[in-house]
Structures are given as structure tokens and as C-alpha cells.
Amino acid sequence: MEVVHNKKSQTPNSTTKPQKSMSPWAMARRKFMKNKLAMISLCYLIVLGILSFLAPYITTADISRVNIGDMSLAPSAEHWFGTDTSGRDVFTRLLYGGRVSLLVGISCTTIILFIGTLIGSVAGYFGGMVDSMFMRFTDFILNFPFLVFVIVLNAILFGIVSGIWVLIVVLSILGWGGVARLVRSKILSEKENEYILASISIGCKPGKIILKHLLPNVLTTVIVQATILFATMIVAESGLSYLGFGVPQEVPSWGNMLAASQQPEVLQNMPWIWVPPALVLILTILSINFIGEGVKEALNPKSYR
């Protein structure tokens, strides 16, 4: 056997280095893992995510191909969830739809969190003029009725930005206001904590204070907000697609699948076409909500403060 030399083991204290103690994140994680409902939801989402993003490898069918001979077939061994009115396999489309819906949800959430956190934390930390300017702007954004302007912007950007990115961009442009406000107010109250004063007094620069001290503590709120946003954005995507103002029709998203099944005949006699997307959508939102609750509880500061 070969002796593996660990260079680090030569450092003075590390020989007696005790097990690292649990960080608040680790504690939250453990608490979260005990939450059955949240864990089940998480598993569901993970499975869904994996299936969706691996869809091209799982199924080989050309998802957009219209099969005139196979229209509206009931579920069978060949087509697990049947086919839709265009003869496309519902199961395959469901997976691809998940890709789009989840992608829209994740992208929007990420962008919104980024913009919102950036603006909110800068405004909250520096206060004064910076704050008033940024917050006027945020108010301005917030004063647009969300759906209304999403629809308008979507129409404008259509063709300028391609595919589902239209919707992602539009939702993000109009969606960050709430996060910015939340982060700002959270920063304002967190700023009052003495550990911020302490970090100034030990010579931390503003950037470091925001990044290392304020943000990690605001992050709990942001994470909870992220789950809410994620659900909201998925609903927004599907709702807009349903109204015909969402992702382009040729892209299979859950919203488009539902919109495409809004024929009475389909609704009444071909449940296999619309039940799966509806159910998966509802379950997804339900899961996200449960995860959100779980995260909220796990991050509840009462547990360690």
C-alpha cells in the first residue's frame, strides 16, 4: 500500500483539527431533510428536472413532428400518455414541456434575484440619494401591472429576441421590483445589527460588508423568495402561453400544451391530452410551495439565535 501524503497535514493545528462544527446552513439543511413533505417534493422536482433535461436522451421521437396518422390516440404501451390532436406523443411533450417551463422558471428566478438583490442591497446599504434614486426606479417598475406589461413587452420583443428568451427577458425586466424592495428592507434592518458596525470598525470595505456580512444573512429571505418566484414564474409562463402571449406556440411548454387542448372535445373526451400537463404543473407548484415552506422553517432564525 502506498502512503498518501497529505500536504495539509503538515500544518500546525490540523492534526488535532476537530470536526468542523455545523454551520447555520448545515443546520438548516438537516432541519429541512427532516421535513418529509418538503423532501418528497424535492425528490419529485429533482426527478422531474432530470427527466426533463434528459428528455432528448430518454426519448428519441421527434417531438415536433405532426403524425397525421396517429392523432388523438388513447394511452397505450407505445404511447404511455397517448397522443395529442397533432399525433405527438404526450409523454414526450410533457418532458420537453418541463424543460421549457423549468427553464423559464429557473432563468427568470435567477435573473430576477440577481437584479433585485443587486439593486436592493446597494440601495439599502448606501442609503441616502442612492437609495432614493434606486427606490424611485423600483417603485416605477412596480407600478406597472405585471401581466399587462408583460403582454405588451412580449409583443414588442417578439422577433427581436428569439424563442423562449423573449418571455424570460420580459418576465425578468418586469419582475425584479419586489425582490429589490424586499432585499432593501431586509438589508436596512440587518444593517442595524451590531455585527455590521463591528465589521466596519474592523476595517472591512463596503463591498466586503455587503458580500460577506449582509448578503449571507439576507440570503435566507432571498431563498424563500426564490421559491415563491420560481412558482410564480412557472405559473406566469403557462398562463401567458395559455392566453397566447407566452412562449412561441411551436415550443412545447406545459402552458402551450394546455392551451392546445382547450378544445371542448379534447377537454371532454381526451383527458390524456390535458390531464398530464395540468397535473404535472399543479404538482410542480405544490412541490415548490412545500419546499418553500420547508426552507422557510429550516431557515427560521429562532432555531439558532
Binding site: I156, L243, F245
Partner: protein
């Protein structure tokens, strides 16, 4: 209070101005104009369309168009709908009552249900019924409004035949009579329920959690130490505190209703502003579109104002000056 409201209202003017600019330029940036797609080889000809463009001023410089629009707007002239060919103001006057009726009904439904369920669940948490209410609410929160709407139509209108599936009133009734009102209510219930479902669920859970939170507050202990009966503690001391945030939501509800109306009215063919907005969107009816967009923004501003003012009214700790 008065001063505060006045300041807030004055503060809204620059905001509205900015929004109007945005609305205007967005409308300008939208593809095509109201005459695009008006192709009718039998009845119109391209010259007529060009004439109309000229007449409607679509060929003027942009700032002239904006100036004309906004000054007319300020004077209450919102322009003429290019689709319905009547003043937008009249059009909105026709639809607004319906939207208001729908919105208010859904609010009433939301608040009544939320209060009844939330108060029960908050007072008796972790009981069977509370769990049931909670589960139901989670489901309601997860069902997108359009799925709920379509489902409601299929189940309650077509399957059970309990409610009408479209329209706002039965033509056979005479306006203003009791029958007419009943018919209006009968038509609004289903869309209002659908529109209010998510709010109901959210508020119920909010009220429940807030009641539980509040019941652990020191002042509740004080009230008990005074010998105050339990029911009075819940219905009076706690409720009064929990209701405050709930009432202030009323302002923000306006925003939710605007968003919700868009979808609900469309699904239920309920002729209101939401439906009008979407149809003006598809037909490039810009005067209507711009007026509605501005109006909705204005509503949001008003909603925020109401929320703030209500806060000041219902919460003695907030002083508005």
C-alpha cells in the same frame, strides 16, 4: 393624514407622467398600427387605409403624437377606439362596472371565506379540520387560475348546470330591477370564485398563521391574566391585530385583480376591462390599449395609496403626516 394623502397624490403625478411616456413608447414600438391587418378586398382599398393613417395622425412626428395624446388624455379625451369606433371613455364606462362588480364580489368572497376558515384554523391549529383547510388551501394556491376557470366551467356550468358559463347578465331582465341584480350576481359568482380562490387560500393561511403567532404574544398573556374569557381573546384581542395586515392587503388586491381579471374575464367571456385589454391587444386598438395600460397603472398607484392609508387608519402605531 389629509396632508399625507395629498402629498402622496401629488407624488403620483410625475410617476404617472413617466408611465405615460413608457406606455406611449411601448405602444409605438409595438408592431403595426391599428390599421394593420385591415385587409378587406371587397369593401376597403389600400388608399382608404392610407387616408385613415394620415387622418389619425400616425404619420406625424413622434413628439407631436405624444403631445396630442397626453394633452387630450389630461382633458379626459382618451381617443377613439379604432376597433369599436367609439370614444375609449365610453367603452371603458361600459365595461368598468362589470369589472368592478366582479372584483368587488371576488373580494367579498375572498374575505368572508378567509375570515371564517382562517379564524377557525388559527384558533384550533393542528386539528383535523385545520389540516383539511390547510391542504385545501395549498391545492388552491397551486392551481393556476386558468385551469381552475376551465375546470369550473366544465364542472359547474356544463356538468352540473348550476351557473352560466358566459356573460354578465340575463338579457331578459330589466336593468335596475331586483331580477336584474340577481341575474348579475348569478353570473358573477363563478368567475368571482375562481378569481378569488387563490386569494382566499393565501389569506386564510396568512390569517391562521398570524393568529397562531399573535396568540403567543405577551399581550395575550396579559389579557388572560386580566381574566378575559378565551373567546373574547381570540375574537377581539388577537383578531384585531391579525386583521390589520389583512386589511392593508386590500390595496394590493387591486393589482391582483387587474392581473386576474385578464384571464378570468377571457375564460368566462365576461365583458370587462381585462377582456377588453386582451382584445385591444390582438386588434392593435392602441387608443384603448394605452388608456387601459395607463389606467391599470393608475389603479396600482391608487391601490398602493389605499394600502398605505388603510394602514394608517387601522393601525394606531402608524402615523401618517
Amino acid at each position: 393624514m389629509l396632508k399625507y394623502s395629498l402629498r402622496r397624490i401629488l407624488g403620483m403625478i410625475p410617476m404617472l407622467f413617466l408611465i405615460s411616456v413608457v406606455v406611449f413608447f411601448l405602444a409605438l414600438a409595438m408592431p403595426g398600427d391599428s390599421l394593420t391587418g385591415e385587409i378587406d378586398p371587397n369593401n376597403t382599398d389600400p388608399e382608404y387605409i392610407e387616408q385613415m393613417r394620415e387622418k389619425l395622425g400616425y404619420n406625424d412626428p413622434i413628439y407631436v403624437q405624444y403631445g396630442r395624446w397626453i394633452s387630450n388624455f389630461a382633458q379626459g379625451d382618451f381617443g377613439t377606439s379604432t376597433k369599436y369606433k367609439i370614444p375609449v371613455a365610453d367603452l371603458i364606462a361600459q365595461r368598468l362596472p362589470n369589472t368592478l362588480f366582479l372584483g368587488i364580489t371576488s373580494l367579498i368572497i375572498t374575505y368572508i371565506f378567509a375570515f371564517v376558515m382562517g379564524m377557525y384554523a388559527g384558533r384550533k391549529p393542528y386539528t383535523k379540520l385545520d389540516n383539511f383547510i390547510g391542504g385545501f388551501n395549498y391545492l388552491m394556491l397551486a392551481i393556476p387560475i386558468y385551469i381552475a376557470g376551465v375546470f369550473a366551467i366544465y364542472f359547474f356550468s356544463f356538468h352540473l348546470g348550476w351557473f352560466p358559463f358566459s356573460g354578465s347578465v340575463d338579457i331578459a331582465t330589466n336593468e335596475g330591477t331586483l331580477d336584474w341584480w340577481l341575474s348579475k350576481i348569478y353570473h358573477v359568482i363563478l368567475p368571482a370564485l375562481v378569481l378569488g380562490a387563490m386569494g382566499t387560500a393565501a389569506y386564510t393561511q396568512f390569517l391562521r398563521n398570524d393568529i397562531i403567532d399573535n396568540s403567543q404574544k405577551d399581550y395575550v398573556r396579559t389579557a388572560r391574566a386580566k381574566g378575559t374569557p378565551e373567546s373574547r381573546i381570540y375574537n377581539h384581542h388577537i383578531l384585531r391585530n391579525s386583521v390589520i395586515p389583512l386589511i392593508t392587503f386590500l390595496g394590493f388586491d387591486i393589482v391582483t385583480l387587474v392581473n386576474g381579471a385578464l384571464i378570468t374575464e377571457t375564460i368566462f367571456t365576461y365583458p370587462g376591462l381585462g377582456q377588453l385589454f386582451l382584445s385591444s391587444m390582438t386588434t392593435n386598438d392602441y387608443p384603448t390599449l394605452m388608456t387601459l395600460a395607463l389606467m391599470f397603472s393608475f389603479l396600482v398607484l391608487i391601490g398602493n395609496l389605499i394600502a398605505d392609508l388603510l394602514y394608517g387608519v387601522v393601525d394606531p402605531r402608524i402615523r401618517l403626516d
